[in-house]
């Protein structure tokens, strides 16, 4: 019983590592595109906001708001114009998954 529980935990733990290490490579790369301004893994070291752990719906909504101009921005309108809705959603999921 005890042994199987431990084995179970090890398997779950290994699976977790494997999942984050094997996130869709294209999404992982697109998200890494953001890190020169927003920090590695979306963890900012300064005035630019962090992206890590943002609720995915909020992330997508804000990107769309930057694109249509309803949220005023400096650089973000140009960046938002360069991606599709599906890409916003993929990046949103990725940043939400980072602890």
């Amino acid at each position: 019983m005890k042994k199987s529980l431990i084995t179970g935990l090890i398997v779950a733990g290994t699976l977790g590592v494997a999942l984050s290490a094997h996130a869709d490579p294209r999404t992982r790369f697109m998200a890494a595109n953001c890190s020169y301004c927003h920090g590695p893994d979306g963890k900012s070291r300064g005035a630019i906001p962090s992206l890590t752990g943002l609720e995915p719906g909020y992330f997508v909504q804000q990107m769309k708001a930057f694109r249509d101009g309803s949220r005023p921005s400096t650089v973000m309108k140009k960046h938002a114009n360069g991606y599709s809705d599906a890409e916003f959603e993929a990046m949103a999921k990725y940043f939400a998954s980072i602890k």
């Binding site: 490579p25 294209r26 992982r28 790369f29 697109m30 890494a32 595109n33 890190s35 020169y36 301004c37 927003h38 920090g39 590695p40 963890k43 900012s44 070291r45 300064g46 005035a47 630019i48 400096t74 650089v75 309108k77 140009k78 960046h79 114009n81 360069g82 991606y83 890409e87």
Partner: protein, 442 residues
């Protein structure tokens, strides 16, 4: 038996890596041992350091050797703030300590020869490294012999400060500090394409801002080899007018297009163009440039009259030599030669190679971005931002509609963003931890 984490990764992932690498023509059998493809990276600037960090994240089985002659990283972006007196050299100098823990082999040495047939790299220290993939991220080579009189003796007095270092940026700052009020600072802008298109115009702002604060009778003369301001023109003109009286009789900045420096004289302290001789108390001439010397060693300077390197946009592989990839300022592309582009294309190349190492083709339609801030030295900054996406017709990466543009106007918030950008891109490039104690300020 004791097995540390690194050995564990090498042995366990290495086997999978070897299997995946078998798809790479000619490499796997002759070069890859039991521990993954051999990747040699030359240069730990924004391109090479970022590539090294990300290839170890996305293809941990790759055996990465990073060769870099400098003891620490010195940032060219933000180095104009040193000339303004806002930061000191130590504030834009960052350690390689974290990167050294990430790569398999950090070699503090200078590359002296590259054999692209045998696929080896040799250093001044007499070491030879075999590679499956060679990544050249050496930045630029300055061509002093294109400016008459710009010899080794003259270079003790006249600085370019286009590769940031204590001997360049640091000495130029000392010269500006020693200059009397009412003096003239003469600086030049090289012909496009050159490293950091907005950099010279930002430099004019930063030095003028220092003069305005400390030596208000002094002047900045800008000798531009180009026919016009090459980057962020409207924003720089607005900043020059707003802060430095540009366009009036009392302008602190005297901008002269089509004025390529042909000769320098450190004794007479003058710069000669085709038109006239310009005297200065401090002279700062950036000579013409081309792709780094290591690109010449590898025979990959094939573009733009043999000055820059053409690449395959999907992999950054040289168009003329197989298994040699070129990053950052050495490459001839649609992208500006910026720190952000070097950083992001470092990741793009790591992404493409990690896919190939896993037995898959590189992404056929990637997307990559540039965001570049320039400061005025007066507490404000502005940007250019661009998304580049694969365009099948053009076989190139180009901006989609409305995904390219500059600030509406300079602002204080963008100065805060510029400072934040610097800290984040340094972290992303060098693997600095979240709690790293930066000293640079905007």
């Amino acid at each position: 038996m004791t097995l540390n984490r690194r050995d564990f990764i090498k042995t366990s992932v290495g086997a999978a890596g070897l299997a995946a690498t078998a798809g790479l023509a000619g490499c796997a059998t002759t070069r890859s041992g039991s521990s993954g493809p051999k990747v040699v990276v030359v240069g730990a600037g924004f391109g090479g350091a970022t590539f090294s960090r990300y290839i170890k994240l996305w293809a941990p089985q790759a055996q990465v050797t990073l060769i870099e002659p400098n003891a620490h990283f010195t940032s060219c972006p933000f180095s104009n703030t040193v000339l303004a007196g806002i930061n000191k050299m130590e504030d834009i100098s960052l350690p390689y300590d974290y990167l050294k823990k990430i790569v398999d082999n950090f070699v503090p040495d200078t590359v002296t020869a590259i054999d692209t047939t045998k696929q080896t790299v040799t250093t001044a220290g007499g070491k030879t490294f075999a590679y499956d993939k060679l990544v050249l991220a050496g930045g630029i080579e300055l061509l002093f012999d294109k400016v008459q009189g710009y010899d080794a003796e003259t270079r003790k007095t006249i600085k370019h400060a286009w590769k940031a270092s204590a001997d360049q940026t640091g000495v130029l700052r000392q010269q500006l500090e020693a200059m009397p009020d009412g003096g003239t600072f003469v600086m030049s802008v090289p012909m496009s394409p050159y490293r950091c298109p907005p950099g010279p115009y930002e430099r004019a702002c930063m030095v003028a801002s220092y003069f305005k604060r400390a030596k208000p009778k002094s002047k900045v003369i800008v000798l531009d080899g180009n026919p016009d301001i090459a980057s962020k023109k409207g924003l720089f003109l607005a900043a020059w007018k707003k802060h430095f009286g540009y366009g009036t009789d009392n302008s602190m900045i005297d901008y002269r297009p089509n004025n390529m420096p042909r000769a320098v004289d450190a004794k007479a302290m003058k710069v000669s163009t085709e038109f006239d001789d310009v005297k200065g108390d401090v002279i700062n001439v950036v000579p013409p440039m081309r792709a780094a010397a290591v690109c010449g060693m590898a025979g990959v300077r094939d573009g733009n009259n043999g000055n820059w390197c053409t690449i395959d946009y999907l992999t950054f592989e040289s168009k003329v030599v197989k298994n040699v990839h070129i990053l950052g300022d050495s490459a001839l592309t649609n992208f500006p030669k910026s720190g952000s582009v070097a950083n992001n294309t470092g990741k793009m190349c790591a992404y493409a190679l990690s896919e190939q190492f896993a037995g898959r083709p590189a992404d056929p339609a990637p997307v990559v971005t540039n965001t570049c801030y320039s400061g005025t030295g007066m507490g404000t900054a502005f940007h250019v931002a661009t998304v580049f996406r694969w365009n099948d017709e053009k076989k190139s990466l180009v901006p989609p509609k409305d995904a390219n543009g500059v600030s509406a106007e300079e602002s204080e918030i963008e100065m805060a963003y510029m400072e934040s950008w610097a800290k984040n891109v340094w972290a992303d490039t060098l693997g600095l931890p979240v709690n790293y104690a930066y000293t640079a300020k905007g």
